[in-house]
């Protein structure tokens, strides 16, 4: 489980170090590399109302995907197509990932479960989620007496 926004849990010096490393990568325009065994890699886009989570899942049938939003955790699960080639054939390269995957992502806000929309196009999954209405930031006008 990966917590891109680690603001809870016990104090962990390694996490601090990892945060620092990611901070450095960001400074140099490098992506925050996922740790090994974490699949799929995600990008998270945010604005005041919610977030967009994207993941590259080429060849995954949307029917085989499971997306669950509970509290502020989003879970993506699914199955990558197994390589299907005729028997007696010779493999020259076998690089495409296969197997089952499941990943949980903790967002910095609660997800309104009714707002979650997922779309898959050309092997790119895009999940749009909103904060609950009462938790959206509000602009407060300062009144002059």
């Amino acid at each position: 489980m990966v917590r891109p926004y680690s603001q809870s849990g016990p104090w962990n010096p390694w996490r601090r170090l990892r945060d620092l490393e990611q901070e450095m990568r960001r400074l140099f325009g490098e992506p925050d590399r996922p740790r090994r065994g974490v699949f799929p890699p995600v990008n998270i886009w945010t604005n005041a109302d919610g977030a967009v989570v994207t993941a590259e899942l080429p060849g995954v049938d949307p029917k085989d995907m499971e997306i669950v939003a509970v509290g502020n955790t989003l879970t993506l699960g699914g199955q990558l197509g197994a390589p299907e080639f005729a028997e007696g054939s010779v493999w020259h390269r076998r690089e495409r990932p296969s197997g089952k995957f499941s990943r949980s992502i903790e967002l910095p806000f609660a997800i309104d479960p009714d707002s979650v929309e997922a779309r898959c196009r050309d092997g790119v999954l895009e999940i749009r989620l909103q904060r609950p209405e009462q938790q959206k930031p509000r602009k407060i006008t300062v009144q002059v007496d």
Binding site: F39, P41, N43, T46, P58, S89, W91, K100, G123
Partner: protein, 133 residues
Amino acid sequence: MTDQTPHVEKREKDVPEGVEHLHEGKLFIPPADIVETDSAVLVKADMPGAGAEQVDVTLEQDVLTIHARVGRHDPEGYGLAYSEYETGDYQRVFSLSAEIDADHIDAKISAGVLTLTLPKAKPAQKQIRVQAH
């Protein structure tokens, strides 16, 4: 997490020394499965974000090149808060050992996976009738 958990890390294509990059953005090497049967060479390559209009497949002599122009697709009205992967174009060049029937190459792309079927060229056959005197 089990050992079966898939793992990918996009590999960026190195530009050979002396070659200059004339396009913007990143270029990635798509991971591929390649299988050879008696009759054909089958290639599957992961190019997420690419549709049929973005992909080019060329065969020149025995050099097969696959290329896709994907670029960046940033959701409008949002700022990138956390990033584990980058997007860009794809390119990969294969040198084929078998003789390919270039006129009958089949290329399909579905859900970001390019599937190529390259039928092997049949050796030219000519039957010579032996006549009896």
